[in-house]
C-alpha cells in the first residue's frame, strides 16, 4: 500500500461523524421521520456510528438498515470478478420516510445510482438524502451528496481508502497512490 497521506485520523473521524449527525438533524428538523441506511460494507458501520450520535443528541433511536446493491450493479458484463451478493436488512417500512443513505466514499456515483434503484423497489420514500464520509470527485453520473464529511480532490491514479475499526482494526482515511512507478 503506497500511502500518500493520512487524511483523517481516529479523533478526526469522530468529530466528522458528530458534525454529520448534527447536520442531518438540523436539515430534517429532528430525527422523528428519518431512517438511516448504510451501504455494505463500510457505509454500514458509518451509519451505525451516526445512529449512535443521533441517539445521544435527540434521545431517539432512528430506524437503521443495511443495503446491498450488488443485484443492481451496471458492471456485470465488464467486471472480471463475479461480485458476491449479500443480504439487504431493511425490516421497516420506508414509505413516506426521509431516508439518509450513507456510504464511505463518493466517486463515480454508480453505486449510488444502484442504491437509488434498490430503494425505490422497497417503497416510496418521502426523500432520499445522501451522506458520505469522503467525496473524491470524478463523477460519471449527475449525483451530488447532501452531507459530506470531507471533500478531497483526487487524481484518477489515487484511491481513497476508509478504514473502520469494526472491519479493518483502525479508524482512519488514507490517500493511496495506485500508479505503478
Amino acid at each position: 500500500m503506497d500511502i500518500k497521506a493520512k487524511i483523517i485520523d481516529e479523533e478526526g473521524l469522530n468529530r466528522t461523524i458528530t458534525r454529520l449527525a448534527h447536520e442531518i438533524l438540523e436539515r430534517n428538523k429532528g430525527s422523528k421521520n428519518i431512517v438511516l441506511i448504510g451501504m455494505r460494507t463500510r457505509g454500514e458501520f458509518i451509519a451505525e456510528r451516526i445512529r449512535k450520535k443521533v441517539k445521544e443528541i435527540e434521545n431517539l433511536d432512528p430506524n437503521y438498515g443495511v443495503l446491498d446493491v450488488t443485484l443492481y450493479r451496471d458492471d456485470f458484463r465488464t467486471r472480471l470478478k463475479q461480485p458476491e451478493v449479500s443480504v439487504t436488512t431493511i425490516t421497516f417500512d420506508v414509505n413516506e420516510k426521509d431516508i439518509i443513505l450513507i456510504d464511505d466514499v463518493l466517486y463515480t456515483g454508480r453505486t449510488v445510482r444502484a442504491a437509488l434503484d434498490a430503494l425505490m423497489d422497497l417503497g416510496r420514500p418521502n426523500t432520499i438524502q445522501l451522506c458520505v464520509l469522503v467525496d473524491r470527485g470524478h463523477r460519471e453520473l449527475p449525483i451530488k451528496a447532501d452531507f459530506v464529511g470531507k471533500n478531497i480532490p483526487t487524481s484518477i491514479n489515487e484511491e481513497v481508502r476508509v478504514r473502520i475499526q469494526e472491519v479493518d482494526g483502525e479508524d482512519a482515511v488514507y490517500l493511496i497512490n495506485t500508479q505503478i512507478k
Binding site: D68, L71, Q82, V85, T88, T89, D121
Partner: protein, 306 residues
C-alpha cells in the same frame, strides 16, 4: 467467489464450496422474495429457454418465476406444442433455438444424460431440471437449503430418503449433495424400490419405517410415482401406506422431533397421511418458496459468470 463450473448438470462431484456459495446466495434472494417489489434488474438482457420434454408444474413455474424476478427474458418450450411432433430431432431443435441467441437453457428430459449432451452441442449455460432417473440438482439444493434453514446445520445430521429410491432423481441429487455437506444419508423403502448396490454410495439401507423414523433427524419422503409403474413393485398403495406411510402416530411414538420434507406433488394417504402433510413436522411449502430462491441463486451465479 464464483462457481467452478459454468453448467449445473448434477450434484455429483460438485465441490462443497460451490454448494455453500449457492446456499449463501439463495439467502439473499429469500430476502428479495419478501419485498413488495420482488424483482431485481440483475439478468436484464439475458435470454433463457426452458426446454421441457417432460411434464412439470412446480419446477417449471419455479424456474420461470426465478427468471422473471431476475429480469431475464424467458421462452418456454414444451413438446406438446412444438415441432418435435413433426419429427424434428432433439439436436436440430436445440441448434435452432441456439441460433436465436440464447444465453441459458434449463432442460428437463425423460432420458438421463441429455443435459450433458446439450453442453456439447450448445454454447449456452445448461441447467438440469431433471433428467430421467439421474439427477434433479436444484431440487437437491432446495432440500438441503430447507434442512439447513430449519435445523441450522448440515454437518453430522442424519437424513433418510424414504420411498421409491430406484426411480428417483431427487434421491440421487440428495445423496450426493447432502454427503458433500457432511450429512449422514440413508434410504428406506420396500426392497423392490431400493436399487441393488446403493450401499456403495455410502448410504445405509433401512427396511422398517419405525426404525428409520427413530434414528433420523430428517425424512425426505419421495412420491410413489404411478407414472413410472410403481404399481409393479408394491402390492397396493394401501399396503405401501400400511408399511411405509408416514403417520402422526409413527412420528409421535418417537420421542424426538423429526423434520419431514417432500418434493411434491403429494399422494395423500400413500407416502404421507393427510395429517402429516398439513402438520407441524413438515416444511413442504417452505421447500417450494426456497425453490424459487435457490433457482434465482443458480441463475444469478451462472448468468453473471465470465
Amino acid at each position: 467467489m464464483s462457481l467452478s463450473s459454468r453448467h449445473l448438470l448434477g450434484l455429483y462431484g460438485v465441490p462443497k464450496e460451490d454448494i455453500q456459495l449457492i446456499l449463501d446466495t439463495a439467502t439473499t434472494f429469500r430476502e428479495v422474495l419478501e419485498r413488495p417489489i420482488k424483482k431485481v434488474p440483475t439478468l436484464q438482457g439475458k435470454t433463457i429457454v426452458n426446454l421441457f420434454y417432460e411434464s412439470s408444474t412446480r419446477t417449471r413455474i419455479s424456474f420461470e418465476l426465478a427468471q422473471k424476478r431476475l429480469s431475464a427474458d424467458t421462452i418456454n418450450f414444451s413438446t406438446s406444442t412444438s415441432s418435435t411432433k413433426k419429427g424434428e430431432t432433439f439436436k436440430d431443435t436445440v441448434r435452432n433455438i441456439e441460433a436465436m441467441k440464447v444465453d441459458m437453457i434449463v432442460v428437463r428430459h425423460q432420458s438421463a444424460g441429455v443435459p450433458t449432451y446439450l453442453t456439447k452441442i450448445s454454447k449456452a449455460n445448461i441447467i438440469n431440471a431433471g433428467d430421467g432417473l439421474h439427477e434433479h440438482p436444484t431440487q437437491g439444493l432446495l432440500d438441503i437449503y430447507s434442512i439447513k434453514e430449519k435445523l441450522g446445520k448440515l454437518d453430522g445430521l442424519k437424513v433418510c430418503i424414504v420411498g421409491d429410491v430406484s426411480h428417483s432423481r431427487v434421491a440421487l441429487s440428495n445423496i450426493f449433495g447432502l454427503k458433500t455437506m457432511g450429512a449422514k444419508v440413508s434410504v428406506c423403502g420396500p426392497s423392490t424400490m431400493i436399487p441393488f448396490g446403493i450401499e456403495s454410495l455410502g448410504v445405509k439401507v433401512y427396511n422398517k419405517i419405525n426404525q428409520a423414523i427413530a434414528e433420523h433427524d430428517v425424512l425426505n419422503v419421495l412420491r410413489i410415482q404411478l407414472e413410472r409403474n410403481a404399481g409393479e413393485r408394491i402390492p397396493s398403495l394401501r399396503e405401501y401406506h400400511n408399511y411405509f406411510g408416514i403417520t402422526t402416530e409413527r412420528i409421535e411414538k418417537n420421542n424426538r422431533d423429526v423434520l419431514i420434507l417432500h418434493p411434491g406433488p403429494i399422494n395423500r394417504g400413500v407416502e404421507l397421511s393427510s395429517e402429516v402433510a398439513d402438520g407441524p413436522y413438515q416444511v413442504i411449502l417452505d421447500q417450494v418458496t426456497n425453490g424459487v430462491a435457490i433457482r434465482m441463486a443458480v441463475l444469478y451465479l451462472l448468468g453473471t459468470m465470465h
